[in-house]
């Protein structure tokens, strides 16, 4: 059934999250825009949660395979994204800092 209430709640969360994102991210200085992109890339790997749900609840082989592919793709983003961001941020040093 079409669940209007659930949809409205989801939309509310969506709109509020966009506003929070806007406020927080406009304060990131240009120096860190590349790590911001790779880091937010890793965060978009949050679809791993959806991938786990689909893979875990699949009853047929097709569903399980699709779930596993989604888990793998999301995992590349999560692991690769956070690691490469850390690798970059490690290089940012202040004057005189070793």
């Amino acid at each position: 059934m079409f669940d209007a209430e659930a949809l409205i709640i989801a939309l509310t969360v969506f709109v509020l999250a966009i506003f929070i994102g806007y406020e927080v991210i406009t304060k990131v200085p240009p120096t860190l825009h590349t790590p911001l992109m790779s880091g937010s890339n890793a965060i978009s790997g949050i679809v791993i949660v959806g991938a786990l749900l689909v893979a875990g609840q699949a009853d047929g082989l097709v569903g399980q395979i699709l779930g596993a592919i989604a888990v793998g793709l999301a995992m590349i983003n999560v692991v690769g994204g956070f690691m490469v961001t850390d690798r970059m941020l490690k290089m940012f040093r202040r004057s005189g800092q070793k």
Binding site: G21, T34, M37, S40, N41, L52, L89
Partner: protein, 467 residues
Amino acid sequence: MSTDALFHINITNAAYIFAAILFIVGLKQLGSPATARRGNRMSSLAMLVAVLATVVGNEIMSWEWILGGIIVGSAIGVYSARKVEMTSMPQLVAIFNGFGGAASAVIAAGELIRLINEGAVIAEDVSITIMASVIVGGVTLTGSFIAYGKLQGLVPTRPLLMPIRNVINVALLIGMIASTVWLVIDPSITAFLIAGGIALALGILVVIPIGGADMPVVIALLNSYSGIAGAATGFVLGNNMLIIAGSLVGASGLILTRIMTKAMNRSLMNVMLGGFGVEDGASASGDEETRPVTSIQPEDAATMLAYAQSVIFVPGYGLAVAQAQHQVRELADLLKQKGISVRYAIHPVAGRMPGHMNVLLAEANVPYDELKDLDEINGEFQRTDVAVVIGANDVTNPSARTDTSSPIYGMPILNVDQAQSVIMMKRGMSAGFAGVQNELFFLDKTQMLFGDAKDSVEKITKEVKDL
């Protein structure tokens, strides 16, 4: 529902709120280089919390396939994060964006198959969000791969324009809407596959006409799409965690897209329509440049720098291409030892993606407090003795401020022309990407130093040492 199941759902949702807070605080910590690394760790902790909460709170029926996906995905992630060169960071981000979009599309497919197998009546909001998820995901996937190909030089970087592409695009859009309506009325895999196929084609067609120099905008936009695809998947599954994290990424990508288009003096529409530089390039090559410029040798440049009190380096992508970051930092260190103030002026489009030049310089051990962005540094040029431009062109062209007929008029530039004197390192007299001649070359205060940037900087460093 049993109390036990209810308990699990509540625990999961509480953990999701905790993870959401960690993500937001983590992003907030990216506000300063001093705290950014901690912020990134916080975000990765948030991801771990979200994953564990999902596994604990839901019945996972089979683990074999999931574990396989986790192992293969992690291995690829670790390998690419370790191996990638900093100059290739735009390619890596592009391809990761593509994977994120693909994951969203595949999840939507899995969910649709599950619902159809269950024989459940699929509500309109679910079928529409399934379509949104596969369409945004599909466009992100192929669009990102084309962007990757252009950055890597596998796909021609010049804008590829097809004569009837607008007709094709409109036809694809109509097909997309039609298949969505079809899926809402009669949930079938066929309708889903058609929409998916159209989305994949659209991703290719939208990115292929865009020129290589506009890729920073495209990557930022696709970054945003990968977040929006995630949020759409959240709508499909009724999962707030996906909606929140996806929206944060969506907002981030949109902000970066706007910053980049502003820095390039373009509108997003103008970038997406593509074909920039095609007509301009042809007309600019027509009139030969005959005005004289002053050219100097590395020894003269060394003298100028050694007797200056303040120096600003203006790096462009040409510096990264010549791999001269380390040589520039060495020269800067030497000047600092002589008590000369050294800073770097970084234009937003200096690299191949937002903030790219900063990373390349950080890799060469340039301290981040010496890296100044446009607003911070522009007032400082008039108090600066020597500005050294290395591999940058259009972003220093004073015509952007003064010549209303110039194609780059209105573009924010670095006010290099206000420095006491300017050293311009360049291979030859060629025009920049915008196809216009740089007026800076012809000023009395400008000295041209022709040759390979790395070579020239090395020679200057040697001369300064010997002085």
